[in-house]
């Protein structure tokens, strides 16, 4: 199962570095994540155990919270991270929604300190999930007409909004799915169908019922065309009261917020899996073709430009030919370096002896004195 960490890895590393530093260090970092989340970490030598952390994050629902800032429920969730170490500074720094004062002297000197720093690093996830928790616990209808509740548009990832719609005895979360590639759409659609099949089993009766449709559900009719134009259809979850009781609320909220990321991760892993299998199959097919290659010993045809082996008639001819070849080789090796005047010396003193053949004859020189 892909783990989507709540804590920001960069923020956690910086806080750990400040906490573990042997002597106080001056720190003033600006961190940007996901294109819209900004952190400002400031620590000075004059206050060695204190670090100020400011966060600016887009809210889940712009229309509801913008005018009020962070709700008391959200601030309460943030304080619950650690009441000793963390204090909320009011008002927050300019350009940020929240400023926290972290007192590292209050951190315990054991493994608990790492856990607290990790929870502090997940403050952005706490802010966003607290907003959805508030909605799921007690959703007010901001606009209702003819008994229908208007859907609330929430944005966790940029360009990937989802909707929460209040209905009698349940809350429906609808995810319009969009993908870049046609093959991603098909893999994801196959996943959604499997999801619906699994949810319909008796074993999973307690999970929120899930539904996928290629067309927008009735509740979303009236929303902007841009938001409703998708290629992956619409996935909806029906959240009942027992899904948000006690500790299940946090798990339900985190699962809903990360549903997009989960699906995209699954599609990416499936593509990698398909690629690996194709590569393996390619290797197997090439091996089959290599077996059909003709071995050297099976060559029967002789092509015109290739050397033809002749059956040698007499042994002496064979020996003579081989010696001649060897001699030429020796000459080539020995006489690679050219020395001026050496050629005459070589011809006189370094000639290779020639064998006389038993079948050869010596031509007699005829002159006028022979009788």
């Amino acid at each position: 199962m892909a783990s989507f960490e709540r804590a920001s890895p960069a923020l956690k590393e910086i806080l750990l570095r400040i906490y573990n530093a042997e002597k106080p260090i001056e720190v003033d970092y600006h961190l940007y994540e996901f294109g819209s989340v900004e952190y400002h970490i400031k620590s000075s030598v004059s206050e060695p155990q204190v670090t100020y952390l400011s966060i600016s994050t887009p809210f889940l629902s712009q229309g509801v919270f913008l005018s009020y800032g962070l709700s008391p429920f959200t601030l309460k969730m943030v304080r619950q991270i650690s009441t000793d170490v963390l204090h909320i500074v009011e008002p927050a720094n300019d350009g940020y929604q929240l400023t926290l004062r972290l007192d590292f002297s209050k951190l315990p000197h054991n493994k608990e300190s790492l856990k607290i720093i990790t929870e502090v690093s997940s403050v952005q996830a706490v802010i966003l999930s607290s907003q959805l928790k508030e909605m799921l616990q007690n959703v007010n209808s901001w606009d209702s007409s003819q008994g229908m509740y208007k859907p609330i548009k929430l944005i966790y990832h940029p360009k990937e909004p989802f909707y929460v719609i209040r209905q009698p005895q349940k809350i429906v979360a609808v995810f319009p799915m969009r993908f870049k590639d046609n093959s991603d759409v098909i893999i994801a659609t196959s996943f959604f169908q499997e999801l619906m099949d699994v949810v319909s089993l008796k074993k999973w009766a307690k999970v929120p019922p899930c539904n996928w449709s290629p067309i927008p559900p009735l509740e979303l009719r009236g929303e902007s065309f841009e938001d409703l134009s998708t290629d992956g259809g619409f996935v909806s979850f029906d959240i009942s009261s027992h899904h948000v009781e006690g500790k299940r609320l946090d798990k339900t909220v985190w699962s809903l917020l990360n549903f997009y990321a989960y699906v995209k991760h699954h599609v990416k892993c499936t593509r990698g899996f398909i690629q690996r299998r194709m590569r393996r199959r390619l290797d197997n097919l090439v091996k089959v073709l290599e077996k059909s290659r003709v071995e050297d010993g099976q060559i029967k045809k002789v092509q015109g430009w290739r050397k033809m082996r002749k059956m040698v008639g007499s042994k002496s001819k064979m020996i003579k030919r081989r010696w001649g070849d060897l001699g030429k080789k020796i000459k080539r090796i020995r006489f690679r370096i050219k020395i001026h005047g050496f050629a005459r010396f070589r011809r006189r003193w370094l000639t290779v002896p020639s064998f006389s053949s038993s079948t050869a004859y010596t031509k007699l020189q005829t002159n006028g004195n022979n009788n």
């Binding site: 199962m1 899904h243 499936t270 899996f273 194709m278």
Partner: protein, 168 residues
């Protein structure tokens, strides 16, 4: 189902055994050139009649022969969208690596999913019977691989869905 596949493959094998009688034939139009005549199709007297073997509407095999080359084009079964994209991905993957196969064409003939081009030089380097065995086994392996991929993707989807629902 399996019996129709056997018959289909046997028919293709027999046709290939008859058609794969290739010899070297230099180009008639350009000096010192030697081209696969089945690709150019400039001289009708060097071409044999193409043979189309259909298993059903979705699966077929086109065998075009000439004096020095033979072209085999295959259309693979694609029952639904998932098989469609898997077949497309896989065959494109193989075509892009055609140099590993030697006899595979980089671009399939229009209307087909994958094509082979076998010339007389291939017949000299590779044994004819084993080459035909390779083509037939290739067809079987493609079908098997696409079915296995489809099943694997569905199984993975189910496992991932189960893991997701465990969080609730």
């Amino acid at each position: 189902m399996a019996s129709t596949l056997r018959l289909y493959l046997t028919c293709i094998r027999n046709t290939l055994e008859a058609a794969m009688c290739l010899q070297n034939f230099p180009c008639q139009e350009v000096e010192r050139h030697n081209k696969p005549e089945v690709e150019l199709k400039t001289s009708p007297e060097l071409l044999l009649n193409p043979v189309l073997i259909c298993r059903n509407e979705a699966e077929k095999c086109l065998i075009e022969t000439s004096i020095n080359s033979i072209r085999i084009s295959l259309k693979v079964k694609q029952a639904d969208e998932l098989e469609n994209i898997l077949a497309k991905k896989f065959l494109r993957f193989l075509s892009m690596r055609a140099e590993a196969f030697q006899v595979l064409r980089r671009k399939p003939v229009q209307g087909y999913d994958i094509s082979f081009l076998i010339t007389n030089y291939h017949c000299e380097e590779l044994q004819k019977q084993k080459l035909i065995d390779f083509i037939v086994q290739f067809m079987e392996d493609i079908d098997k691989e696409i079915s296995e991929l489809k099943m694997s993707v569905s199984t993975r989807g189910r496992l991932v869905a189960t893991e997701f629902l465990k969080q609730f």
